[in-house]
């Protein structure tokens, strides 16, 4: 019993981490049609900035996380301004440029801070455990779940309450026509990219909490699961990504534990393949 509780709680925590990583990716992909391979790099930037602020610069953890998120957002804005924006008429090249950034940024981090994992600052408040129905669950899993929930809420509000979602979706179809309606579409795109980057950086910062350390390849390592989640959720539906994250987290956690060879990631991969073959448009059935 307590094993099941533990697996459920930690599975949810893992799902929350996946959602933190995937939400920005999903937003950018769903609205802007850019499959952002540099998303892992943004995660790493957020994680390293938080780590740097929390250790080298001596800020408290509660200041370091906003700082890291801010740096990640700035990186995303720069990425959009200097790489994505000039390539809007060449969507495939956009993807490829992000592949290049995804290669270069981790290498740069490795060059500056070395390849080895660095211990991540852990505030005392979050390093304990809670006892839930006989299971000892680390507190930070609950923090992740709460952060993911808040992020989901915030993104949904942004999409529903502002015109930006609409503008960007229209802009992907036909940028010129959006400007011909008197809208400065570039600003909207930059904003969406910045929000995606902020989500990624927050994911990176909280991922550091989860792993207890940061290393240059961490973001890229999570990226593949983020892709899986985005596709399963239905290509850019943020809510779909949330549902898929929880599914993937739970399935992976249970399969890792109960199958002898630890088939967690294999089962996720099989899940994806089967889902796409049965429902080619993903869980929520948005455009494929």
């Amino acid at each position: 019993m307590d094993t099941v509780v533990l697996l459920s709680c930690t599975g949810l925590g893992l799902g929350a981490l996946y959602f933190l990583v995937a939400s920005g990716l999903s937003l950018i992909f769903g609205l802007m049609d850019v499959l952002n391979f540099a998303h892992g790099a943004l995660l790493s930037v957020g994680a390293y900035a938080t780590w740097w602020a929390g250790t080298e610069a001596g800020l408290s953890f509660w200041l370091a996380v906003p700082f890291g998120t801010l740096v990640g957002t700035a990186a995303a804005v720069l990425l959009e301004l200097f790489l994505i924006r000039p390539l809007y008429s060449r969507p495939r090249d956009q993807i490829l440029a992000t592949v290049g950034v995804g290669l270069a940024v981790p290498a740069l981090l490795m060059g500056v801070w070395g390849a080895d994992a660095r211990p991540f600052p852990q505030p005392a408040l979050l390093s304990g455990t809670w006892h839930v129905l006989g299971a000892t669950v680390p507190v930070n899993r609950f923090v992740l779940v709460a952060a993911a929930g808040l992020l989901l809420l915030a993104l949904r509000l942004f999409l529903a309450r502002t015109r930006y979602g609409l503008i960007v979706r229209a802009g992907v179809e036909d940028r010129a026509m959006v400007t011909a309606l008197g809208i400065d579409v570039r600003r909207a795109f930059t904003l969406v990219f910045a929000i995606g980057g902020a989500a990624a950086a927050l994911g990176g910062a909280l991922g550091g909490l989860y792993f207890g350390s940061v290393n240059p390849g961490q973001g890229t390592g999570l990226l593949i699961f983020a892709f899986v989640v985005v596709v399963m959720g239905g290509m850019g539906s943020v809510t779909g990504a949330a549902v898929a994250s929880v599914c993937v987290g739970l399935v992976q956690q249970f399969a890792n534990y109960y199958t002898t060879a630890g088939l967690g990631d294999l089962s996720v991969v099989v899940l994806l393949a089967v889902l796409l073959l049965v429902r080619p448009r993903g869980l929520t059935g948005r455009l494929a």
Partner: protein
């Protein structure tokens, strides 16, 4: 001018044929003289990847299929051949045939499943299958793949003409033969009736259906053919590196193929080859640049990034995408176009004020 252009592939082939007999030093490009084992090994790897990229472009540039799992078939050829020798005790030739057959069977199976979805769904299903393969190899089932350490090829089962430094030239010939085989296969297929259907599928799949052709079958042929070519590449790779290591199966390997194709120019005749050669060469030589004394003397802001080969590679790639749309292969055409515009401009009237459009191309 065009007459001479038509002959350059043959000239290139002749050049490639004389390389092992040449002791020409090419400082900067290569570490040793042309015919030295180290250079031959590097050139052979370049040719191998040029051929692999050419085969991959059969999917990407010719049929419009963005597969993220091509490395799976390369790795299958590599591992199955090696295991054929190690576990089944087959002689090399039989093991190679076994390896390619395994990859073809796998491509047939997985291709027929993944081609049931289109667009980004197809990309993701292929990625998923390749990821499963990669995990399996790393997991070392039954101890046969050797996990992350891989397994080296059994020297006893390889023909002695392929062993030892003094025989590097023979490996080079094999890589060259593989390249010629791939180029011939791809160009022949593209020029055949099925190649025309592929082009139709790439540009407008529904339109092909309306003509009475079912795209699925033709795409499957492309998928299996590309898979088979990749598998042969895996066999050549086994000979060149003397072992099978899991790096070959990762999604990064497919991503590199993608980068190569784009670098050179997807859908063009020579672009993928060019891209593969350049990427591989840069991957090996940028390390030397990164470690060179010139870099070591730079201030830290420059030295730290420049001493990371992957940073240089990533940066280079971004630059190419940014500055050379359509890849290197389209560069001459672009230069020509730019020149004609300039001459047209200088002849025609010049407007006083210019304004850039805010949107991309008008819809």
């Amino acid at each position: 001018m065009h007459g001479s252009l038509r002959w350059w592939p043959i000239a290139l082939l002749i050049l490639l044929l004389v390389i092992p007999y040449s002791a020409l030093p090419v400082p900067g490009l290569l570490d040793g003289p042309l015919g030295s084992p180290g250079s031959l090994q590097l050139i052979a790897l370049c040719l191998l990847y040029g051929a692999l990229a050419t085969g991959y472009d059969l999917l990407l540039g010719r049929t419009g299929l963005l597969s993220f799992g091509h490395a799976l078939y390369f790795a299958t050829g590599l591992y199955a051949t090696n295991l054929g020798m190690l576990e089944l005790g087959l002689p090399f030739a039989a093991a190679a045939a076994f390896g390619v057959a395994c990859a073809v069977a796998l491509a047939l199976l997985l291709g027929s499943v993944s081609l049931r979805v289109t667009g980004i769904g197809f990309s993701m299903v292929t990625l998923a299958f390749a990821q499963a393969g990669s995990i399996l190899v790393q997991r070392n089932p039954g101890g046969i793949t050797g996990g992350e350490e891989g397994r080296s090829a059994p020297a006893g089962r390889l023909p002695s003409a392929l062993l030892g430094i003094e025989n590097t030239a023979n490996l080079y010939w094999i890589a060259l033969a593989y390249l010629v085989l791939t180029l011939a296969a791809v160009h022949w297929a593209v020029g055949s009736p099925i190649g025309r259907v592929w082009q139709g599928i790439k540009e407008n799949e529904r339109r092909v259906e309306v003509l009475g052709l079912r795209p699925y079958g033709y795409k499957l042929v492309a998928f299996v053919l590309a898979g088979a070519l990749a598998a042969v590449g895996g066999v050549v790779y086994l000979l060149l590196t003397g072992g099978a290591t899991p790096q070959a199966a990762t999604s990064d390997a497919t991503l590199s193929l993608l980068v190569m194709v784009v670098l050179g120019g997807s859908g063009t005749r020579w672009g993928p080859l060019l891209g593969g050669v350049l990427y591989t060469w840069a991957g090996h030589r940028l390390g030397d640049l990164a470690n060179s004394a010139a870099v070591a003397d730079l201030p830290a802001v420059l030295r730290v990034p420049l001493s990371q080969p992957l940073f240089l590679l990533g940066g280079l790639f971004v630059a190419v995408v940014y500055l050379l749309p359509g890849g290197l292969a389209r560069l001459p055409a672009r230069i020509r176009a730019a020149r004609s515009v300039r001459s047209a401009r200088s002849a025609g009237p010049v407007g006083a004020t210019g304004a850039r459009p805010t949107g991309g191309s008008p819809a």
